[in-house]
């Protein structure tokens, strides 16, 4: 690991240690926050007991589904919009302001339409994630060198072969930024929706635990979410770096 990496790890360890110390010394009321070590113990117990497994699988399944839909549909929409400059021009302001609008206000409407099921939650996940993917696709395709389209014609490739065999890989590093964002946003969209109103899922369980003063359950699941989100992000980051390095693109 690099020196910066060690420093980063040290900062994290110190922060957790401080929190632990504050809780143990009673500076923070244990009825409000339990020490991190106890969170970890509670999480391990919860996982072993298998009580929450169904909810865990459900929520991460929905996140995965929402992220997949966002990435695939976002790329397809991005590619179509990119091919139609006028449509793009008219849509640009919407993309620019999309994340300035709190899209959660539409969640109740979706529940009214689709009922209290997984569908509105998937849709909220997609709604938060897909535009990031569309924007990344537009950016990526903008950066595809014009000469590749000529190469495609010299090889007598059709529009679809050109898009999939040349434009997609040429834009891939930029698309990957979209994938990373889409996964993060899908997490946020899904968990937040479950928090607000859902028949089941981790967000719902955490919210219930909160109402019941069940600190152990609440913090255990929060810890789980943080760990999973971090691991997924680190994995995507490493893949991204490898890829960029090979192609000589310096990425911070």
């Amino acid at each position: 690991m690099s020196r910066v990496g060690w420093i980063r790890l040290a900062v994290l360890a110190i922060a957790i240690g401080l929190l632990e110390l504050c809780c143990r010394l009673g500076l923070i009321d244990q009825r409000v926050v339990i020490p991190p070590s106890e969170m970890a113990v509670a999480l391990v117990r919860l996982l072993i007991s298998g009580e929450a497994n169904e909810q865990i699988v459900r929520t991460f399944g929905i996140v995965l589904l929402a992220a997949l839909i966002s990435v695939v549909a976002g790329f397809a929409l991005g590619a179509v919009i990119h091919a139609l400059p006028r449509v793009r021009q008219s849509l640009d302001p919407f993309f620019a302001t999309y994340y300035a609008v709190p899209i959660f206000i539409f969640y109740p409407v979706m529940i009214v339409i689709f009922g209290l099921s997984a569908i509105p939650i998937v849709l909220m996940g997609v709604a938060t994630a897909i535009v990031a993917m569309i924007i990344a696709t537009l950016n990526g395709l903008d950066r595809v060198p014009q000469v590749l389209a000529k190469v495609a014609r010299v090889h007598r490739m059709g529009a679809i072969a050109t898009a999939l065999r040349l434009k997609l890989p040429a834009a891939a590093p930029h698309l990957f930024t979209g994938v990373k964002l889409a996964v993060s946003y899908a997490f946020i969209g899904v968990i937040a929706s479950e928090f607000i109103l859902a028949p089941a899922g981790l967000g719902r369980v955490i919210s219930d635990a909160y109402t019941d003063f069940n600190n152990r359950q609440m913090y255990a699941l929060m810890l789980l979410l943080i760990i999973v989100a971090t691991i997924v992000n680190m994995f995507l980051h490493v893949v991204d770096q490898r890829w960029a390095e090979r192609r000589g693109i310096a990425k911070p």
Binding site: R153, R165, A172, R246
Partner: protein
């Protein structure tokens, strides 16, 4: 003039070709090329020289079928070229067109794989082309790990493996220093002799054109037309050593004579061109 025998000798031809880039919201129409005529004989090495922006790349793209001429016709191997790049034409572009996500080897194999050529044959042809272009030890490298000139050689390999009968090269070594470019010229000559293909090379380097070609077309400032066609008379076995021959100096001198005024014009000094 058009006896059957003479026609068979003409590999590709432009007649009365004009190319005007249509007007856009931001730009007026641009008359980039012509009207001009050009007949490439089968197996000849033809160079095009001309000032920057005179329409050389446009000429190449029209000839390749990548652009429709605004007027006139383009013929390749006896057929009219229209809207599609005919089989048998290979193009190396002015810009770096290597695929950064593929290794050098996979870059070179791209066209063969698309054409569904058998694996063993692909391996044979790609290995051969990379060896010929001096890239064997970089076969597993990615373009980002190569110099600009090496990347152009990757693009040449990618074209070469398809065994084109007409090879169009658009300033392939524009980014190289003069000495390296002359050495790369030797490579191009070897390539030309070995494949027996017809080669059209675009360059802005007069010495490069004089050394490599059977004939050289000197183009005017935009809209590009041929001012002069210089026949060099070199033997097929020439190499970069001919630069020390007196005839070499005569050819470059004549090209410079042709182009001096035009280059000034394209720089925006028409008054000086008259003097």
């Amino acid at each position: 003039m058009t006896t059957a025998a003479a026609d068979a000798d003409i590999h590709a031809a432009l007649s009365g070709v004009t190319r005007v880039y249509p007007e856009t919201i931001a730009t007026p129409p641009v008359h980039a090329l012509g009207p001009l005529d050009l007949e490439l004989k089968r197996g000849e090495f033809f160079a095009v020289v001309g000032p920057s922006g005179c329409g050389k790349s446009t000429l190449l793209e029209v000839l390749a079928g990548l652009q429709q001429p605004t007027a006139g016709t383009v013929m390749f191997e006896g057929r009219t070229v229209s809207g599609k790049v005919p089989d048998g034409i290979g193009v190396v572009f002015q810009e770096d067109a290597s695929f950064p996500w593929m290794t050098v080897w996979d870059n070179a194999a791209f066209g063969l794989r698309r054409n569904g050529v058998a694996t063993a044959e692909i391996r044979r042809r790609v290995d051969d082309a990379l060896a010929f272009m001096g890239l064997t030890e970089f076969a597993r490298a990615y373009p980002a790990q190569l110099s600009g000139g090496m990347r152009q050689r990757v693009c040449i390999s990618r074209t070469l493996v398809l065994q084109p009968r007409l090879i169009l090269l658009d300033e392939p070594f524009g980014a190289l220093d003069a000495q390296t470019r002359l050495l790369m010229g030797d490579e191009v000559l070897r390539l030309w002799r070995r494949t027996g293909a017809t080669v059209l090379l675009i360059t802005h380097a007069l010495d490069e054109a004089a050394m490599l070609s059977d004939r050289i077309g000197a183009m005017s400032a935009r809209p590009g037309r041929f001012l002069d066609i210089v026949v060099t008379g070199w033997s097929r076995e020439r190499d970069s050593k001919i630069v020390s021959e007196p005839q070499f100096g005569e050819i470059t001198g004549r090209l410079w004579e042709d182009l001096r005024g035009e280059s000034l014009k394209s720089l925006g000094h028409p008054g000086m061109a008259a003097g």
